[in-house]
């Protein structure tokens, strides 16, 4: 590895375009994310934030441009897609836990089925992860018996069980009651401190300011501005960025 590669670019998006019918949801979005970086994507609703990160693990298919995740180009090749999906964990706004499985089974399913891990080993890992997100005592309950905040923490543990290199968060706190937002953000902050590469779509400006290495502002399907939190909150360049920040701060 040459010295120039010391900073590894783990996600490369180049001129990504996406249409829903005639509506263009993403317009030439380009973004390079380095390993261990935390990038927060903000912007008004309907600006394409979620669509953008959903393209990265192919929950949405982009129609033009290139996406390369950890050196694997995202094409129609199913093997590439499956490989990228097992390296990029995703946390959803609506948690999307499997309601018919216990918390433990939710977390161990993918490691056992996809990684072919032994059941005992997977359960051991899962207990470790549940400890890490602070709810080891809930292992045998069903998702429906947990609070929203607990469910989202289980969802984070479920993604981490696949030992991903990247975590994608799609508005992880938007469906939560206010008093539960903090417990989820705390888990995410801790995860960021361990050096996980994270791409986070959120409206939590406090989190963005404190945890993000860089902030991306999107509007109307375009990446308008990229910069450090300091740059954003004190010295935003773009008119629309300023307008957005003035509305939410």
């Amino acid at each position: 590895m040459s010295e120039n590669d010391a900073v590894e670019e783990i996600i490369i998006c180049q001129d990504v375009c996406k249409w829903f019918g005639d509506f263009q949801a993403l317009k030439n979005c380009s973004l390079r994310v380095q390993a261990q970086e935390v990038v927060v994507i903000i912007g008004p609703s309907g600006s394409g934030k979620s669509t953008f990160i959903r393209c990265i693990n192919r929950l949405e298919e982009h129609q033009a441009g290139d996406i390369i995740v950890d050196g694997i180009p995202l094409t129609r090749d199913v093997r590439n897609i499956e490989q990228i999906r097992s390296e990029a964990g995703m946390v959803f706004q609506q948690f999307n836990l499997f309601p018919h499985l216990t918390v433990m089974e939710n977390i161990t399913l993918a490691p056992i089925q996809v990684r072919k891990m032994k059941k005992e080993e997977a359960q051991e890992t899962a207990m470790g992860l549940l400890n890490r997100v602070g709810i080891p005592e809930q292992a045998d309950k069903y998702p429906g018996q947990l609070s929203g905040g607990q469910q989202q923490r289980v969802a984070i543990a479920r993604s981490l069980a696949m030992s991903p290199k990247i975590m994608l968060f799609d508005e992880p706190t938007s469906a939560l009651d206010p008093e539960m937002i903090k417990e989820v953000l705390d888990v995410m902050q801790e995860l960021a401190e361990t050096g996980m590469t994270m791409l986070v779509v959120t409206h939590e400006m406090g989190f963005a300011r404190e945890v993000a290495d860089r902030i991306v502002f999107m509007d109307a399907g375009e990446i308008m501005e990229v910069g450090t939190p300091e740059h954003f909150f004190t010295n935003a360049q773009h008119e629309r960025t300023k307008l957005f920040l003035s509305q939410i701060l």
Binding site: N57, R58, L59, E82, R85, S86, A88, G89, M90, F92, Q94, N96, L97, F98, P99, H100, T102, L109, A110, Q113, V114, K141, Y142, P143, G144, Q145, R158, S159, M162
Partner: protein, 406 residues
């Protein structure tokens, strides 16, 4: 606590007027106002009138002798009396298998197991069963209990898998026992399926119709949702074709037309087997549509979560989608299976002597002229016991599976 919340402790008891007493219940539910009182009296008079007629018929004028005289015919058709021990062995083994399975995979299965064991118990109290029959039914219950107790001591690791193998083995043994092997003079001479009849045949047709049509129906439902056009079109055409024709026409086709298409000497010559094929194909189409309803109730988020974890389509279907989809349609499926059980009586019209077919032959017998109310009433009771057991079992399973759903 109560003082802190500001509620006096005496409020924690229901007001006297709301508390349960028989008189209070009657007043509130039956005589709450003039119209309700009137309705109650009229309904009561009607019920008493009908019940008196029925009871007088049942205990005074009915000629019940027809039932004990034809009891074996009703139960097993023309299955030879000397081979009846094979049928009882099948039932004992079933009891044992149910007992063992109940112990090994308690939880989700226990409601259904309790019902299966309750059936022989309930049958012991049906009139006209001979003392011998009741003894055999009691043995079945004992076999089930023994299986349950013994299974507790078995050192089995993978219990779900063990039960699956046990049931598979049982099915094979059951078919061998029913059908027989070896020479005519051997210990277990073959009994052609066309001789199977009565309740035995009704239950077998329903059981195999359900167990064979279920997987086929699930595959068709998945096929109808497939992204591959060929599979989707085949599934849709099959489902819509079968749903467009009545079962009786399929049964006739099976009996009359199938030979025209098959080469001479093709093994599917047995008429009972042909009826079973028709029932299975028919039921599969309906199962498919019911399961499709369940598949559509699964939110997109579940598919996405499974994909995001790297599960393949097959894995997510097997572990995420199907368990939830099937759970959602248990009531509908059981309803369909109950009607399948009753629909098997249509085979009587193509000359196969199931429970209803046997009933018709008994009534047609000059010795028993005019006994059709008695025969049909008895047959109805038998059908009711099994149908009600199925619906009860389904409710229990639903309750069990409901844990943690919402």
């Amino acid at each position: 606590m109560t003082t802190a919340a500001g509620t006096p402790s005496d409020r924690s008891v229901l007001p006297v007027t709301e508390r349960y007493t028989l008189l209070g219940w009657v007043r509130r539910n039956l005589f709450s106002d003039l119209f309700n009182s009137l309705l109650t009296i009229v309904a009561l008079a009607f019920i008493v009138f009908v019940a008196r007629l029925l009871l007088r018929w049942a205990f005074v004028s009915a000629e019940w002798a027809v039932i004990p005289a034809n009891f074996n015919l009703i139960m097993r058709g023309q299955y030879p009396a000397v081979e009846a021990w094979r049928l009882w062995l099948v039932i004992y083994l079933l009891g044992t298998v149910v007992g063992v399975s109940w112990k090994l995979i308690s939880g989700q299965f226990s409601g259904a197991a309790r019902v299966l064991i309750a059936i022989p118990f309930a049958l012991m109290f049906v009139p006209f069963f001979s003392m011998g029959t009741r003894l055999y039914l009691l043995i079945t219950v004992v076999a089930a209990s023994t299986g349950y107790l013994v299974a507790g001591f078995l050192p089995i690791q993978r219990r779900g898998r063990a039960v699956a193998y046990l049931i598979l083995a049982y099915l094979i043994v059951m078919l061998i026992l029913l059908r027989g092997v070896g020479a005519e003079e051997g210990p277990m001479p073959p009994v052609q399926p066309i001789l199977w009849g009565g309740l035995l045949l009704s239950l077998l047709l329903a059981f195999f119709g359900i167990t064979l049509s279920f997987p086929l129906g699930v595959l068709l439902a998945l096929g109808r949702q497939s992204k591959l056009p060929a599979i989707r079109v085949i599934s849709v055409v099959y489902i819509e074709f079968i749903r467009g024709v009545p079962l009786i026409s399929l049964l006739f086709m099976g009996q009359v037309m199938l030979q025209l298409f098959l080469p001479d000497g093709f093994p599917l010559v047995d008429r009972v087997l042909r009826a079973l094929v028709a029932i299975t194909l028919f039921s599969a189409a309906y199962t498919a549509e019911n399961v499709r309803g369940g598949l559509q109730s699964i939110s997109r988020g579940q598919y996405e979560a499974a994909q995001a974890l790297g599960l393949s389509t097959f894995q997510s279907t097997l572990h995420i989608i199907l368990p939830q989809a099937l759970r959602a349609v248990i009531p509908v499926l059981v309803g369909q299976f109950i009607s399948l059980f009753k629909d098997t009586t249509l085979v009587a019209l193509v000359g196969i002597f199931d429970l209803l077919g046997i009933a018709r032959t008994i009534i047609a017998n000059p010795d028993w002229l005019g006994t059709h109310p008695e025969v049909y009433a008895f047959v109805a009771v038998l059908f009711w016991i099994f149908s009600y057991s199925m619906s009860y079992a389904s409710r229990r399973i639903e309750q069990r599976l409901g844990v943690g759903e919402r």
